[in-house]
Protein backbone atom coordinates (compact mmCIF):
# COMPACT_ATOMS: atom_id res chain seq x y z
CA UNK A 1 0.00 0.00 0.00
CA UNK A 2 2.75 2.35 0.97
CA UNK A 3 4.65 1.29 -2.09
CA UNK A 4 1.74 2.27 -4.30
CA UNK A 5 1.35 5.69 -2.78
CA UNK A 6 5.07 6.31 -3.16
CA UNK A 7 4.74 6.16 -6.95
CA UNK A 8 5.41 9.46 -8.56
CA UNK A 9 2.22 9.16 -10.57
CA UNK A 10 -0.59 6.72 -11.15
CA UNK A 11 -2.39 5.96 -14.35
CA UNK A 12 -5.64 7.87 -14.63
CA UNK A 13 -8.80 5.76 -14.38
CA UNK A 14 -11.11 8.22 -16.07
CA UNK A 15 -8.92 10.50 -18.21
CA UNK A 16 -7.61 7.96 -20.66
CA UNK A 17 -7.16 7.39 -24.38
CA UNK A 18 -4.88 4.34 -24.34
CA UNK A 19 -3.98 3.34 -20.79
CA UNK A 20 -4.35 6.58 -18.88
CA UNK A 21 -0.61 7.31 -18.66
CA UNK A 22 -0.91 10.81 -20.14
CA UNK A 23 -3.96 11.57 -18.02
CA UNK A 24 -2.10 10.44 -14.91
CA UNK A 25 0.97 12.50 -15.78
CA UNK A 26 -1.15 15.54 -16.52
CA UNK A 27 -2.94 15.24 -13.21
CA UNK A 28 0.38 14.87 -11.44
CA UNK A 29 2.01 17.83 -13.19
CA UNK A 30 -1.12 19.96 -13.13
CA UNK A 31 -1.17 20.63 -16.88
CA UNK A 32 -3.65 19.84 -19.62
CA UNK A 33 -3.61 16.19 -20.71
CA UNK A 34 -3.81 17.23 -24.37
CA UNK A 35 -0.45 18.98 -24.04
CA UNK A 36 1.15 15.82 -22.62
CA UNK A 37 -0.40 13.75 -25.39
CA UNK A 38 0.99 16.16 -27.96
CA UNK A 39 4.49 15.82 -26.49
CA UNK A 40 4.20 12.04 -26.60
CA UNK A 41 2.96 12.18 -30.19
CA UNK A 42 5.95 14.32 -31.22
CA UNK A 43 8.34 12.01 -29.38
CA UNK A 44 6.72 9.06 -31.10
CA UNK A 45 7.76 10.61 -34.44
CA UNK A 46 11.37 10.66 -33.20
CA UNK A 47 12.09 7.03 -34.05
CA UNK A 48 9.24 5.74 -31.86
CA UNK A 49 10.84 7.04 -28.65
CA UNK A 50 7.50 8.38 -27.45
CA UNK A 51 5.84 4.99 -27.75
CA UNK A 52 8.65 3.31 -25.83
CA UNK A 53 8.52 6.00 -23.18
CA UNK A 54 4.77 5.54 -22.89
CA UNK A 55 5.23 1.82 -22.27
CA UNK A 56 7.94 2.54 -19.72
CA UNK A 57 5.69 4.86 -17.72
CA UNK A 58 2.81 2.43 -18.03
CA UNK A 59 5.04 -0.33 -16.65
CA UNK A 60 6.10 1.94 -13.83
CA UNK A 61 2.48 2.75 -12.99
CA UNK A 62 1.68 -0.96 -12.94
CA UNK A 63 4.22 -1.40 -10.18
CA UNK A 64 6.87 -3.11 -12.28
CA UNK A 65 10.34 -3.25 -10.86
CA UNK A 66 11.79 0.19 -11.08
CA UNK A 67 14.88 -0.94 -12.96
CA UNK A 68 12.74 -2.51 -15.69
CA UNK A 69 10.84 0.72 -16.19
CA UNK A 70 14.10 2.66 -16.01
CA UNK A 71 15.64 0.44 -18.70
CA UNK A 72 12.68 1.13 -20.98
CA UNK A 73 12.97 4.84 -20.31
CA UNK A 74 16.70 4.73 -21.07
CA UNK A 75 16.03 2.90 -24.32
CA UNK A 76 13.44 5.52 -25.25
CA UNK A 77 15.94 8.27 -24.48
CA UNK A 78 18.60 6.58 -26.60
CA UNK A 79 16.27 6.26 -29.56
CA UNK A 80 15.33 9.91 -29.17
CA UNK A 81 18.94 11.07 -29.14
CA UNK A 82 19.72 8.93 -32.19
CA UNK A 83 16.75 10.43 -33.97
CA UNK A 84 18.07 13.90 -33.13
CA UNK A 85 21.24 13.04 -34.99
CA UNK A 86 23.67 12.22 -32.17
CA UNK A 87 26.41 9.75 -32.86
CA UNK A 88 26.12 6.28 -31.44
CA UNK A 89 29.00 6.96 -29.06
CA UNK A 90 27.27 10.02 -27.66
CA UNK A 91 24.11 8.03 -27.20
CA UNK A 92 26.00 5.33 -25.32
CA UNK A 93 27.55 8.01 -23.14
CA UNK A 94 24.22 9.66 -22.42
CA UNK A 95 22.63 6.30 -21.65
CA UNK A 96 25.42 5.48 -19.20
CA UNK A 97 24.92 8.88 -17.56
CA UNK A 98 21.23 8.23 -17.08
CA UNK A 99 21.79 4.66 -15.92
CA UNK A 100 24.39 5.85 -13.43
CA UNK A 101 22.08 8.46 -12.05
CA UNK A 102 19.20 6.03 -11.86
CA UNK A 103 21.39 3.61 -9.91
CA UNK A 104 22.30 6.34 -7.47
CA UNK A 105 18.66 7.24 -6.92
CA UNK A 106 17.31 3.71 -6.72
CA UNK A 107 19.96 2.47 -4.34
CA UNK A 108 19.02 5.31 -2.06
CA UNK A 109 22.36 7.03 -2.33
CA UNK A 110 22.35 10.61 -1.22
CA UNK A 111 24.29 13.31 -2.99
CA UNK A 112 24.22 15.41 0.12
CA UNK A 113 27.32 15.75 2.26
CA UNK A 114 27.76 12.66 4.36
CA UNK A 115 25.54 10.57 2.12
CA UNK A 116 26.84 7.32 0.72
CA UNK A 117 27.23 6.98 -3.04
CA UNK A 118 26.91 3.56 -4.63
CA UNK A 119 30.14 2.78 -6.44
CA UNK A 120 28.35 1.25 -9.42
CA UNK A 121 26.28 4.40 -9.94
CA UNK A 122 29.28 6.71 -9.73
CA UNK A 123 31.31 4.55 -12.10
CA UNK A 124 28.54 4.56 -14.68
CA UNK A 125 28.17 8.34 -14.31
CA UNK A 126 31.88 8.93 -14.81
CA UNK A 127 32.12 6.57 -17.77
CA UNK A 128 29.08 8.22 -19.35
CA UNK A 129 30.51 11.70 -18.88
CA UNK A 130 33.87 10.74 -20.38
CA UNK A 131 32.34 9.11 -23.46
CA UNK A 132 29.84 11.92 -23.87
CA UNK A 133 32.43 14.65 -23.63
CA UNK A 134 34.76 12.61 -25.87
CA UNK A 135 32.31 13.06 -28.73
CA UNK A 136 32.45 16.78 -28.15
CA UNK A 137 33.19 17.63 -31.71
CA UNK A 138 30.22 15.92 -33.23
CA UNK A 139 27.58 16.96 -30.75
CA UNK A 140 28.70 20.30 -29.50
CA UNK A 141 25.24 21.88 -29.25
CA UNK A 142 24.18 19.23 -26.81
CA UNK A 143 27.00 19.67 -24.31
CA UNK A 144 25.80 22.84 -22.63
CA UNK A 145 22.10 22.04 -22.30
CA UNK A 146 23.04 18.50 -21.38
CA UNK A 147 25.33 19.69 -18.63
CA UNK A 148 22.67 22.03 -17.28
CA UNK A 149 20.04 19.32 -17.27
CA UNK A 150 22.49 16.88 -15.70
CA UNK A 151 23.35 19.33 -12.96
CA UNK A 152 19.69 20.07 -12.30
CA UNK A 153 18.88 16.39 -12.08
CA UNK A 154 21.76 15.78 -9.71
CA UNK A 155 20.56 18.59 -7.47
CA UNK A 156 16.85 17.90 -7.60
CA UNK A 157 16.95 14.09 -7.77
CA UNK A 158 17.93 13.36 -4.19
CA UNK A 159 15.48 15.98 -3.05
CA UNK A 160 12.59 14.30 -4.90
CA UNK A 161 13.77 10.97 -3.55
CA UNK A 162 13.71 12.34 -0.05
CA UNK A 163 10.25 13.87 -0.53
CA UNK A 164 8.69 10.59 -1.62
CA UNK A 165 10.23 8.62 1.22
CA UNK A 166 9.15 11.27 3.68
CA UNK A 167 5.62 11.01 2.35
CA UNK A 168 5.63 7.25 2.83
CA UNK A 169 6.88 7.71 6.35
CA UNK A 170 4.21 10.31 7.04
CA UNK A 171 1.45 7.96 5.88
CA UNK A 172 2.81 5.25 8.15
CA UNK A 173 2.90 7.59 11.12
CA UNK A 174 -0.66 8.67 10.36
CA UNK A 175 -1.87 5.09 10.29
CA UNK A 176 -0.14 4.39 13.57
CA UNK A 177 -1.74 7.45 15.11
CA UNK A 178 -5.17 6.25 13.99
CA UNK A 179 -4.66 2.84 15.56
CA UNK A 180 -3.35 4.47 18.72
CA UNK A 181 -6.38 6.76 18.92
CA UNK A 182 -8.70 3.83 18.42
CA UNK A 183 -6.97 1.76 21.09
CA UNK A 184 -7.04 4.72 23.44
CA UNK A 185 -10.72 5.44 22.90
CA UNK A 186 -11.71 1.86 23.38
CA UNK A 187 -9.31 -0.62 24.90
CA UNK A 188 -7.49 1.68 27.31
CA UNK A 189 -10.71 3.24 28.53
CA UNK A 190 -12.16 -0.17 29.11
CA UNK A 191 -9.06 -1.34 30.96
CA UNK A 192 -9.29 1.72 33.19
CA UNK A 193 -12.93 0.97 33.91
CA UNK A 194 -12.09 -2.67 34.59
CA UNK A 195 -9.56 -1.59 37.21
CA UNK A 196 -12.06 0.70 38.87
CA UNK A 197 -14.73 -1.99 39.00
CA UNK A 198 -12.40 -4.85 39.86
CA UNK A 199 -14.63 -5.85 42.78
CA UNK A 200 -17.72 -6.17 40.60
CA UNK A 201 -17.23 -9.26 38.43
CA UNK A 202 -20.48 -8.79 36.54
CA UNK A 203 -19.58 -5.29 35.49
CA UNK A 204 -16.08 -6.36 34.52
CA UNK A 205 -17.47 -9.20 32.44
CA UNK A 206 -19.90 -6.95 30.59
CA UNK A 207 -17.21 -4.33 29.97
CA UNK A 208 -14.94 -7.00 28.56
CA UNK A 209 -17.70 -8.33 26.32
CA UNK A 210 -18.54 -4.92 25.01
CA UNK A 211 -14.93 -4.18 24.25
CA UNK A 212 -14.48 -7.54 22.60
CA UNK A 213 -17.41 -6.94 20.27
CA UNK A 214 -16.27 -3.45 19.37
CA UNK A 215 -12.75 -4.54 18.63
CA UNK A 216 -13.91 -7.53 16.66
CA UNK A 217 -16.18 -5.44 14.52
CA UNK A 218 -13.33 -3.07 13.86
CA UNK A 219 -10.86 -5.84 13.02
CA UNK A 220 -13.04 -8.22 11.04
CA UNK A 221 -16.00 -6.06 10.12
CA UNK A 222 -16.46 -3.14 7.84
CA UNK A 223 -14.07 -1.04 9.90
CA UNK A 224 -16.60 1.74 9.72
CA UNK A 225 -17.71 3.29 12.96
CA UNK A 226 -21.32 3.93 11.94
CA UNK A 227 -23.60 0.97 12.22
CA UNK A 228 -25.33 0.29 8.93
CA UNK A 229 -26.56 -3.28 9.31
CA UNK A 230 -29.32 -4.88 11.35
CA UNK A 231 -27.16 -7.47 13.12
CA UNK A 232 -24.59 -4.88 14.19
CA UNK A 233 -27.32 -2.63 15.53
CA UNK A 234 -28.91 -5.51 17.44
CA UNK A 235 -25.52 -6.46 18.86
CA UNK A 236 -25.01 -2.88 20.03
CA UNK A 237 -28.41 -2.88 21.70
CA UNK A 238 -27.60 -6.24 23.31
CA UNK A 239 -24.32 -4.92 24.69
CA UNK A 240 -26.06 -1.86 26.13
CA UNK A 241 -28.68 -4.00 27.82
CA UNK A 242 -25.99 -6.33 29.16
CA UNK A 243 -24.16 -3.41 30.62
CA UNK A 244 -27.20 -1.75 32.14
CA UNK A 245 -28.83 -4.81 33.61
CA UNK A 246 -26.04 -7.32 34.10
CA UNK A 247 -27.50 -10.21 32.13
CA UNK A 248 -25.97 -12.03 29.19
CA UNK A 249 -27.57 -11.29 25.83
CA UNK A 250 -26.68 -13.79 23.12
CA UNK A 251 -27.22 -12.60 19.54
CA UNK A 252 -27.58 -15.10 16.69
CA UNK A 253 -28.48 -14.32 13.11
CA UNK A 254 -29.11 -15.73 9.69
CA UNK A 255 -28.68 -13.16 6.97
CA UNK A 256 -28.51 -9.43 7.47
CA UNK A 257 -30.34 -6.34 6.30
CA UNK A 258 -29.51 -2.70 5.70
CA UNK A 259 -30.57 -0.34 8.43
CA UNK A 260 -33.32 1.91 7.12
CA UNK A 261 -35.99 3.74 9.14
CA UNK A 262 -38.31 0.77 9.54
CA UNK A 263 -35.47 -1.60 10.42
CA UNK A 264 -34.24 1.01 12.90
CA UNK A 265 -37.66 0.92 14.57
CA UNK A 266 -37.43 -2.86 14.64
CA UNK A 267 -34.11 -2.61 16.45
CA UNK A 268 -35.57 -0.22 19.01
CA UNK A 269 -38.51 -2.54 19.62
CA UNK A 270 -36.12 -5.47 20.03
CA UNK A 271 -34.05 -3.46 22.44
CA UNK A 272 -37.12 -2.72 24.52
CA UNK A 273 -37.95 -6.43 24.55
CA UNK A 274 -34.39 -7.23 25.68
CA UNK A 275 -34.64 -4.64 28.43
CA UNK A 276 -37.95 -6.09 29.64
CA UNK A 277 -36.48 -9.58 29.67
CA UNK A 278 -33.41 -8.39 31.55
CA UNK A 279 -35.41 -6.43 34.10
CA UNK A 280 -38.42 -8.61 34.80
CA UNK A 281 -37.81 -12.20 33.74
CA UNK A 282 -35.28 -13.12 36.40
CA UNK A 283 -33.38 -15.16 33.80
CA UNK A 284 -29.65 -14.51 33.56
CA UNK A 285 -29.57 -14.98 29.82
CA UNK A 286 -31.54 -13.44 26.95
CA UNK A 287 -31.49 -14.82 23.42
CA UNK A 288 -31.90 -12.67 20.34
CA UNK A 289 -32.22 -14.23 16.91
CA UNK A 290 -32.59 -12.22 13.72
CA UNK A 291 -33.55 -13.85 10.45
CA UNK A 292 -33.44 -11.68 7.35
CA UNK A 293 -35.02 -13.16 4.26
CA UNK A 294 -36.06 -11.87 0.87
CA UNK A 295 -39.43 -10.62 2.00
CA UNK A 296 -39.39 -10.77 5.78
CA UNK A 297 -37.19 -9.78 8.68
CA UNK A 298 -38.01 -11.59 11.91
CA UNK A 299 -36.41 -10.91 15.27
CA UNK A 300 -37.02 -13.15 18.27
CA UNK A 301 -36.20 -12.04 21.81
CA UNK A 302 -36.49 -14.83 24.30
CA UNK A 303 -35.84 -15.56 27.94
CA UNK A 304 -36.50 -18.68 29.99
CA UNK A 305 -37.56 -16.64 33.00
CA UNK A 306 -40.72 -16.29 35.05
CA UNK A 307 -43.01 -15.20 32.22
CA UNK A 308 -46.15 -13.23 32.94
CA UNK A 309 -49.90 -13.17 32.57
CA UNK A 310 -50.42 -10.87 29.62
CA UNK A 311 -54.06 -9.86 30.27
CA UNK A 312 -53.14 -8.92 33.82
CA UNK A 313 -50.66 -6.30 32.67
CA UNK A 314 -52.27 -2.85 32.80
CA UNK A 315 -52.93 -1.37 29.38
CA UNK A 316 -50.98 1.76 30.22
CA UNK A 317 -47.74 -0.10 30.82
CA UNK A 318 -45.71 1.86 28.36
CA UNK A 319 -43.00 -0.70 27.59
CA UNK A 320 -44.91 -3.40 25.78
CA UNK A 321 -47.91 -1.56 24.37
CA UNK A 322 -46.15 1.50 23.04
CA UNK A 323 -42.47 0.76 22.68
CA UNK A 324 -42.90 -2.66 21.16
CA UNK A 325 -46.34 -3.16 19.62
CA UNK A 326 -47.07 0.45 18.68
CA UNK A 327 -43.62 0.92 17.25
CA UNK A 328 -43.80 -2.20 15.11
CA UNK A 329 -47.24 -1.25 13.83
CA UNK A 330 -46.04 2.20 12.78
CA UNK A 331 -43.07 0.63 11.01
CA UNK A 332 -45.48 -1.60 9.08
CA UNK A 333 -44.79 -4.79 11.00
CA UNK A 334 -46.18 -6.83 13.85
CA UNK A 335 -45.21 -7.85 17.36
CA UNK A 336 -46.36 -11.06 19.00
CA UNK A 337 -45.70 -11.85 22.63
CA UNK A 338 -45.86 -15.45 23.75
CA UNK A 339 -45.71 -15.90 27.49
CA UNK A 340 -47.32 -17.53 30.48
CA UNK A 341 -46.37 -17.57 34.14
CA UNK A 342 -43.41 -19.92 34.58
CA UNK A 343 -42.99 -20.43 30.83
CA UNK A 344 -40.53 -17.73 29.92
CA UNK A 345 -41.29 -15.05 27.34
CA UNK A 346 -40.70 -14.74 23.66
CA UNK A 347 -41.28 -11.55 21.72
CA UNK A 348 -41.54 -12.07 18.00
CA UNK A 349 -41.10 -9.04 15.78
CA UNK A 350 -41.88 -9.27 12.09
CA UNK A 351 -41.26 -6.71 9.42
CA UNK A 352 -42.24 -7.38 5.80
CA UNK A 353 -39.75 -6.09 3.27
Amino acid sequence: MNQMSALLFERSEHDRVVAGVCGGLAARLGVDATLIRLVFALLALAGGAGILLYFALWAYGEGWRTWAAAALIAAAGAILLLALGLSTTAVVGATLLVAGFATVVIRGGSLRPGGSLPILGVTLLLAGAVIFLGTNGKSGPFIVPGAVVGALVLVIGPWIWQLTSERTERIRIQERAEVAARIHDSVLQTLALVQRHASDPQRVASLARRQERELRRWLYGSGVAEVALLVDALTDAAVDVEELHGVRVEVASAGDAALDDAVGQLVLAAREAMTNAAKFSGADEVFVYAESGQDLIAVFVRDAGVGFDRPAVPQDRHGIAESIEGRMKRAGGTATIVTAPGQGTEVELRLPR
Binding site: E250, A252, S253, Y289, A290, E291
Partner: protein, 211 residues
Amino acid sequence: MKRRVVLVDDHELFRAGVRGELGDSLEIVGEAGTVAEAIALIRELDPEVVLLDVHLADGGGEGVIAGVAPERPGVKFLALSVSDAAEDVISVIRAGARGYVTKTISSEELADAIERVAEGDAVFSPRLAGFVLDAFAAGERVGGDAELDVLTSREREVLQLIARGYRYKEIAARLHLSVKTVEAHVSSVLRKLQLSSRHELTRWAHERRLV
Protein backbone atom coordinates in the same frame (compact mmCIF):
# COMPACT_ATOMS: atom_id res chain seq x y z
CA MET B 1 -13.80 -41.66 34.70
CA LYS B 2 -13.18 -38.08 33.67
CA ARG B 3 -13.15 -37.07 30.03
CA ARG B 4 -9.67 -36.62 28.60
CA VAL B 5 -9.50 -33.25 26.89
CA VAL B 6 -6.83 -31.36 24.94
CA LEU B 7 -7.02 -27.56 24.76
CA VAL B 8 -5.90 -25.86 21.55
CA ASP B 9 -5.88 -22.08 21.68
CA ASP B 10 -3.14 -19.59 20.90
CA HIS B 11 -3.91 -17.51 23.97
CA GLU B 12 -2.26 -18.95 27.02
CA LEU B 13 -4.39 -16.76 29.26
CA PHE B 14 -7.54 -18.24 27.84
CA ARG B 15 -6.22 -21.79 28.25
CA ALA B 16 -5.36 -21.05 31.86
CA GLY B 17 -8.89 -19.71 32.38
CA VAL B 18 -10.53 -22.80 30.90
CA ARG B 19 -8.24 -25.08 32.90
CA GLY B 20 -9.14 -23.22 36.08
CA GLU B 21 -12.85 -23.42 35.37
CA LEU B 22 -13.06 -26.97 34.08
CA GLY B 23 -10.18 -28.62 35.89
CA ASP B 24 -12.46 -30.45 38.32
CA SER B 25 -15.06 -31.84 35.97
CA LEU B 26 -12.67 -33.25 33.39
CA GLU B 27 -9.03 -34.03 32.85
CA ILE B 28 -7.08 -31.63 30.69
CA VAL B 29 -4.28 -33.85 29.43
CA GLY B 30 -2.51 -31.37 27.21
CA GLU B 31 -2.45 -27.89 25.71
CA ALA B 32 -1.21 -26.53 22.43
CA GLY B 33 -1.00 -23.05 20.94
CA THR B 34 -0.28 -23.74 17.27
CA VAL B 35 -1.53 -26.03 14.52
CA ALA B 36 1.75 -27.98 14.36
CA GLU B 37 1.96 -28.41 18.13
CA ALA B 38 -1.66 -29.46 18.32
CA ILE B 39 -1.36 -32.14 15.64
CA ALA B 40 1.68 -33.73 17.32
CA LEU B 41 0.11 -33.54 20.76
CA ILE B 42 -3.25 -35.00 19.78
CA ARG B 43 -1.61 -37.87 17.89
CA GLU B 44 0.44 -38.63 20.97
CA LEU B 45 -2.24 -38.29 23.64
CA ASP B 46 -5.30 -39.55 21.77
CA PRO B 47 -7.79 -37.56 23.86
CA GLU B 48 -11.56 -37.98 23.73
CA VAL B 49 -12.31 -34.35 22.99
CA VAL B 50 -10.26 -31.50 21.59
CA LEU B 51 -11.42 -28.00 22.44
CA LEU B 52 -10.33 -26.15 19.35
CA ASP B 53 -9.98 -22.44 18.74
CA VAL B 54 -11.26 -21.45 15.28
CA HIS B 55 -8.36 -19.02 14.86
CA LEU B 56 -4.76 -20.02 15.48
CA ALA B 57 -1.64 -18.03 14.78
CA ASP B 58 -0.42 -20.43 12.08
CA GLY B 59 -3.75 -21.27 10.49
CA GLY B 60 -7.33 -22.17 11.17
CA GLY B 61 -8.69 -24.90 13.39
CA GLU B 62 -9.58 -26.89 10.29
CA GLY B 63 -5.85 -27.45 9.74
CA VAL B 64 -5.65 -29.29 13.05
CA ILE B 65 -8.66 -31.44 12.21
CA ALA B 66 -7.30 -32.25 8.76
CA GLY B 67 -3.95 -33.22 10.26
CA VAL B 68 -5.40 -35.47 12.95
CA ALA B 69 -8.69 -36.94 11.76
CA PRO B 70 -7.35 -39.55 9.29
CA GLU B 71 -5.19 -41.17 11.98
CA ARG B 72 -7.37 -40.65 15.00
CA PRO B 73 -10.96 -40.89 13.81
CA GLY B 74 -12.19 -41.31 17.39
CA VAL B 75 -11.10 -37.85 18.53
CA LYS B 76 -14.02 -35.39 18.69
CA PHE B 77 -13.55 -31.71 18.08
CA LEU B 78 -15.54 -28.91 19.65
CA ALA B 79 -14.84 -25.55 18.05
CA LEU B 80 -14.83 -22.44 20.11
CA SER B 81 -14.10 -18.86 19.24
CA VAL B 82 -14.83 -15.23 19.78
CA SER B 83 -14.96 -14.61 16.07
CA ASP B 84 -18.23 -13.78 14.44
CA ALA B 85 -17.02 -14.54 10.94
CA ALA B 86 -19.62 -17.05 9.81
CA GLU B 87 -17.48 -18.54 7.04
CA ASP B 88 -14.63 -19.34 9.44
CA VAL B 89 -16.95 -21.14 11.82
CA ILE B 90 -18.68 -23.03 9.02
CA SER B 91 -15.36 -24.15 7.54
CA VAL B 92 -14.22 -25.65 10.87
CA ILE B 93 -17.53 -27.46 11.16
CA ARG B 94 -17.25 -28.68 7.58
CA ALA B 95 -13.74 -29.92 8.36
CA GLY B 96 -15.25 -32.19 10.99
CA ALA B 97 -15.86 -30.39 14.29
CA ARG B 98 -18.89 -31.77 16.15
CA GLY B 99 -20.05 -28.41 17.36
CA TYR B 100 -19.31 -24.76 18.00
CA VAL B 101 -19.67 -22.63 21.10
CA THR B 102 -18.65 -19.06 21.80
CA LYS B 103 -15.95 -18.27 24.32
CA THR B 104 -18.41 -16.35 26.47
CA ILE B 105 -20.15 -19.62 27.35
CA SER B 106 -20.46 -20.36 31.08
CA SER B 107 -18.24 -23.11 32.48
CA GLU B 108 -21.15 -25.44 33.27
CA GLU B 109 -22.43 -25.11 29.73
CA LEU B 110 -18.97 -25.70 28.34
CA ALA B 111 -18.52 -28.81 30.48
CA ASP B 112 -21.92 -29.99 29.31
CA ALA B 113 -21.07 -29.31 25.68
CA ILE B 114 -17.81 -31.29 25.98
CA GLU B 115 -19.70 -34.19 27.52
CA ARG B 116 -22.27 -34.18 24.72
CA VAL B 117 -19.61 -34.04 22.03
CA ALA B 118 -17.74 -36.90 23.71
CA GLU B 119 -20.91 -38.98 23.53
CA GLY B 120 -21.18 -38.34 19.83
CA ASP B 121 -23.84 -35.64 19.83
CA ALA B 122 -23.61 -32.43 17.89
CA VAL B 123 -23.51 -29.21 19.87
CA PHE B 124 -25.05 -26.24 18.13
CA SER B 125 -24.95 -22.90 19.89
CA PRO B 126 -27.63 -20.40 18.85
CA ARG B 127 -25.05 -18.56 16.81
CA LEU B 128 -23.96 -21.65 14.89
CA ALA B 129 -27.59 -22.55 14.21
CA GLY B 130 -28.04 -19.11 12.66
CA PHE B 131 -24.92 -19.48 10.53
CA VAL B 132 -26.02 -22.90 9.30
CA LEU B 133 -29.51 -21.67 8.41
CA ASP B 134 -27.90 -18.82 6.55
CA ALA B 135 -25.55 -21.13 4.68
CA PHE B 136 -28.33 -23.45 3.60
CA ALA B 137 -30.65 -20.61 2.69
CA ALA B 138 -28.20 -19.04 0.25
CA GLY B 139 -28.82 -19.84 -3.37
CA GLU B 140 -31.50 -21.95 -5.02
CA ARG B 141 -30.74 -25.58 -5.69
CA VAL B 142 -30.11 -26.82 -9.20
CA GLY B 143 -29.14 -30.47 -9.63
CA GLY B 144 -26.57 -32.12 -7.40
CA ASP B 145 -27.29 -34.33 -4.45
CA ALA B 146 -30.62 -32.87 -3.43
CA GLU B 147 -30.96 -34.95 -0.28
CA LEU B 148 -27.71 -33.60 1.16
CA ASP B 149 -28.11 -30.08 -0.08
CA VAL B 150 -31.33 -28.99 1.56
CA LEU B 151 -32.66 -29.10 5.07
CA THR B 152 -35.99 -30.74 5.74
CA SER B 153 -38.62 -28.45 7.18
CA ARG B 154 -38.29 -30.26 10.51
CA GLU B 155 -34.55 -29.73 10.58
CA ARG B 156 -35.06 -26.08 9.73
CA GLU B 157 -37.60 -25.80 12.52
CA VAL B 158 -35.23 -27.38 15.04
CA LEU B 159 -32.34 -25.15 13.99
CA GLN B 160 -34.50 -22.07 14.18
CA LEU B 161 -35.54 -22.91 17.72
CA ILE B 162 -31.89 -23.48 18.70
CA ALA B 163 -31.05 -20.08 17.23
CA ARG B 164 -33.88 -18.57 19.27
CA GLY B 165 -32.28 -19.92 22.44
CA TYR B 166 -34.33 -23.04 23.10
CA ARG B 167 -32.59 -26.03 24.68
CA TYR B 168 -33.05 -29.51 23.22
CA LYS B 169 -35.51 -30.43 25.97
CA GLU B 170 -37.62 -27.35 25.33
CA ILE B 171 -37.55 -27.97 21.60
CA ALA B 172 -38.65 -31.56 22.13
CA ALA B 173 -41.58 -30.42 24.26
CA ARG B 174 -42.57 -27.74 21.79
CA LEU B 175 -42.48 -29.97 18.74
CA HIS B 176 -43.87 -33.03 20.54
CA LEU B 177 -40.74 -35.04 19.87
CA SER B 178 -38.35 -36.96 22.08
CA VAL B 179 -35.03 -35.35 22.98
CA LYS B 180 -33.33 -38.21 21.09
CA THR B 181 -35.21 -37.24 17.92
CA VAL B 182 -34.16 -33.62 18.29
CA GLU B 183 -30.56 -34.76 18.67
CA ALA B 184 -30.95 -36.93 15.58
CA HIS B 185 -32.16 -33.94 13.58
CA VAL B 186 -29.18 -31.85 14.68
CA SER B 187 -26.74 -34.68 13.86
CA SER B 188 -28.37 -35.01 10.46
CA VAL B 189 -27.87 -31.30 9.80
CA LEU B 190 -24.24 -31.64 10.83
CA ARG B 191 -23.81 -34.60 8.48
CA LYS B 192 -25.32 -32.67 5.58
CA LEU B 193 -23.10 -29.71 6.29
CA GLN B 194 -20.00 -31.92 6.33
CA LEU B 195 -20.81 -34.23 3.43
CA SER B 196 -22.59 -31.94 1.04
CA SER B 197 -20.35 -30.93 -1.79
CA ARG B 198 -22.66 -28.12 -2.71
CA HIS B 199 -20.89 -25.23 -4.27
CA GLU B 200 -23.41 -22.88 -2.77
CA LEU B 201 -21.57 -23.00 0.54
CA THR B 202 -18.43 -21.71 -1.09
CA ARG B 203 -20.34 -19.14 -3.02
CA TRP B 204 -22.14 -18.15 0.14
CA ALA B 205 -18.83 -17.68 1.93
CA HIS B 206 -17.61 -15.53 -0.94
CA GLU B 207 -20.74 -13.43 -0.93
CA ARG B 208 -20.41 -12.89 2.80
CA ARG B 209 -16.85 -11.74 2.44
CA LEU B 210 -17.85 -9.30 -0.25
CA VAL B 211 -20.79 -7.81 1.59
